[in-house]
């Protein structure tokens, strides 16, 4: 590999390369920033993200492979890159004040955040199971640390440990699954796997089992039932700013892998796998939404909500083997991810605004009377809740609309019915939050820190505006195609 080759290959992953370089640099620069001024690290990190985001946007629409087919940068990966980078920005905005308030402000926070984003971006670029695996670890390891960032708070440490142990456990299944796939096809490259299935030299049962185990691993990452159980504990225990990032970034990363692997390598296995995904999706939607009803802690509630939403996105994956609709499968899932990301960040912003030190201010009852005292905050939260339910004119509705369309088009009306039914159940607990904010009296206390408020307001506006002017985002999602063969 000549230098020229190397440069060309680096060019393929330019946004990622830039971000990795920036992160390493930030690690060093951070040493020079005195304690108490770590805001500058945040700013720097944001600049890095923006830089990478700029490149991604500029590159959107191109499609090439690189590093001997290890990575593939296409519409799909750029779209997800943008989403990850955007999540990173939002996460920084949320963390900026939060870390100070909680007394855990350290420069490494931003560095780790950036590395985790690198992992996510790598995930979206991956075209080889090796890269997938590495990306998974690169994504996860910083998150394990971030989850425990509020140490020595026991909850934070517990969250971290649970996340770590479960992550490692699930990682074991992924690895074994990859082993089986390798055993079945003799390759770990997705393109080659696809080709080998075609050429009939494959041990299909083995491959299917391998795919099943991969599903377990990434099901864990996206928090699908029954691999979801870490989610509420980890979401609750982690610092809220981390949780916000985790609930969007990690999930999106998991879906990036699932979509990439299943759509580009395993369409032939869909007859066997569809039913499994169907069931997981249905269980996830149901369980997530039902158990959320019983929650009184807002973070746990949002955790279950995030589980439920994983179920919705999984719905899009169900008809992935149907060539007539798998284009929509990706677009719908991506669109929903965006919708979910916007809404979720907004909701977490409100949570963060109300959170007090030592984990106070997280009970639902602490939200009573919010509408009277902080009308804008409450209004934003109401918008997010409605978006989570899927009430127009919020982007959550658009996302569901697109999803259900894909599912019905794929011929899974039953699943769509479960989807709408569970979103009805979900209305119950989302509305409860609105009820508490608007219809109960109380004396809530919220921080009026700029970036948190800004995030909440901006997300609320985006949630509505991107519905009414949905065309650009829809276009983007529909152009987020995978380079297929």
């Amino acid at each position: 590999m000549t230098v020229n080759d190397l440069l060309n290959n680096m060019n393929v992953i330019l946004p990622l390369a830039v971000l990795i370089a920036w992160s390493c640099m930030l690690l060093i620069v951070d040493l020079t920033i005195p304690k108490g001024h770590k805001g500058w690290t945040a700013v720097m990190a944001a600049i890095g993200l923006l830089l990478s985001l700029g490149i991604s946007i500029a590159r959107f629409g191109t499609a090439t492979t690189g590093f001997s087919g290890m990575v593939i940068s296409d519409g799909f990966s750029y779209f997800l890159n943008m989403l990850f980078l955007f999540s990173g920005l939002a996460a920084i905005a949320l963390a900026y004040d939060y870390l100070k308030r909680m007394g855990i402000e350290r420069g490494e926070y931003y560095v780790l955040l950036l590395f985790s984003i690198c992992g996510m971006m790598l995930m979206s670029l991956a075209n080889d199971l090796i890269v997938v695996f590495l990306a998974l670890e690169l994504l996860s390891i910083p998150l394990y640390v971030l989850a425990g960032f509020a140490r020595p708070r026991l909850e934070s440490e517990e969250a971290s440990l649970k996340y770590f142990l479960m992550g490692a456990f699930a990682g074991g299944f992924v690895v074994f699954g990859i082993a089986l796939i390798f055993g079945a096809t003799g390759t770990t490259n997705l393109t080659n796997i696809f080709a080998s299935i075609r050429s009939d030299t494959t041990n299909l049962p083995l491959l299917t089992l391998g795919a099943g185990l991969i599903l377990v691993g990434f099901g864990f990452k996206v928090a699908a039932v029954p691999f979801h159980m870490w989610t509420p504990d980890v979401y609750q225990g982690s610092p809220s700013a981390v949780t916000a990032f985790m609930s969007v970034g990690a999930k999106a990363g998991g879906f990036a892998a699932l979509l990439r692997i299943f759509v580009s390598a395993f369409p032939a296995l869909s007859t066997d796998l569809t039913m499994i995904i169907w069931t997981i999706s249905a269980l996830t939607m149901f369980l997530g939404n039902v158990v959320a009803i019983a929650q009184s802690n807002i973070k746990r509630l949002l955790a279950y909500s995030s589980i439920a939403h994983a179920g919705y996105i999984l719905m899009a994956l169900v008809p992935y083997g149907n060539t007539a609709v798998n284009k929509d499968t990706i677009s719908a899932a991506l669109f929903y991810l965006v919708a979910y990301a916007l809404t979720s960040f907004g909701a977490w912003a409100v949570v963060i605004a109300l959170e007090k030190a030592e984990g106070k201010g997280l009970e639902l009852n602490d939200y009573a009377g919010l509408a009277r005292k902080y009308p804008l905050l409450a209004a934003s939260m109401a918008v997010f809740m409605l978006s989570f339910i899927g009430v127009p004119p919020t982007i959550g509705f658009m996302g569901k609309f697109y999803l259900f369309r894909t599912v019905i088009e794929g011929g899974y009306l039953g699943l769509a019915l479960i989807g709408v039914f569970t979103s009805l159940i979900s209305a119950y607990y989302y509305l409860r939050i609105i009820v508490i904010m608007y219809m109960r009296e109380g004396e809530p206390e919220a921080r009026t820190e700029f970036w948190v408020q800004f995030t909440a307001a901006a997300m609320a506006i985006l949630v509505i505006v991107l519905t009414l002017a949905a065309q650009p985002l829809l276009n983007l999602a529909s152009k987020a195609l995978m380079l297929t063969f």
Binding site: I13, L27, F67, V71, F115, V131
Partner: protein
């Protein structure tokens, strides 16, 4: 053939026994030591399977570095035995049952699909699995993963520091 089989069976027995030993030992140190035995056995398998570099790496990285680290931490914490509280008694029998089910499932699959695994021995290319080949692969087609690994280790380092660095109050 039979020699190979015999060797395999003996090694397999050792591997399984040591794994079970790790599972059953009350004392965490014993567990760690059983695991060392297990890893070493597996390294032998690697050698048998024409993967000398991996076998060496297994012994040095796993058996050597990682397991020592484990033992070190166990000693450091002095937490070789868990307390007597058993909160979820039902978990153990259920887990064992499930594990047996999993094994049965796996056994069934392997048994029914065994023909797919018996390909006639082909001539192994020269130097298969040698450090040279591994090195070449790592720096050509596997360049990116290799580099990512470095980042990963960096992150792990930072992480470990962040997690353990003392708080200045």
């Amino acid at each position: 053939m039979t020699v190979q089989l015999l060797l395999f069976l003996i090694l397999a027995l050792v591997a399984i026994a040591s794994a079970l030993g790790m599972l059953i030992s009350r004392n965490a140190i014993y567990s760690a030591l059983f695991l060392v035995v297990n890893f070493a056995t597996v390294a032998v398998f690697f050698l048998l399977l024409d993967a000398p570099f991996i076998a060496v790496a297994q012994v040095s990285v796993y058996t050597g570095a990682i397991m020592v680290l484990f033992l070190f931490v166990i000693m450091l914490l002095g937490a070789e035995r868990a307390g007597p509280i058993q909160a979820i008694q039902w978990q153990r029998p259920l887990a064992i049952t499930l594990a047996i089910i999993l094994l049965l499932e796996a056994g069934y699959i392997i048994y029914t699909h065994r023909s797919l695994g018996t390909v006639v021995d082909k001539q192994i290319p020269l130097g298969f699995g040698s450090p040279a080949q591994v090195g070449t692969a790592l720096f050509s087609s596997y360049l990116l993963p290799f580099e990512i690994t470095s980042v990963l280790l960096l992150v792990a380092m930072i992480g470990a520091i962040v997690l353990t660095k003392g708080e200045k109050k």
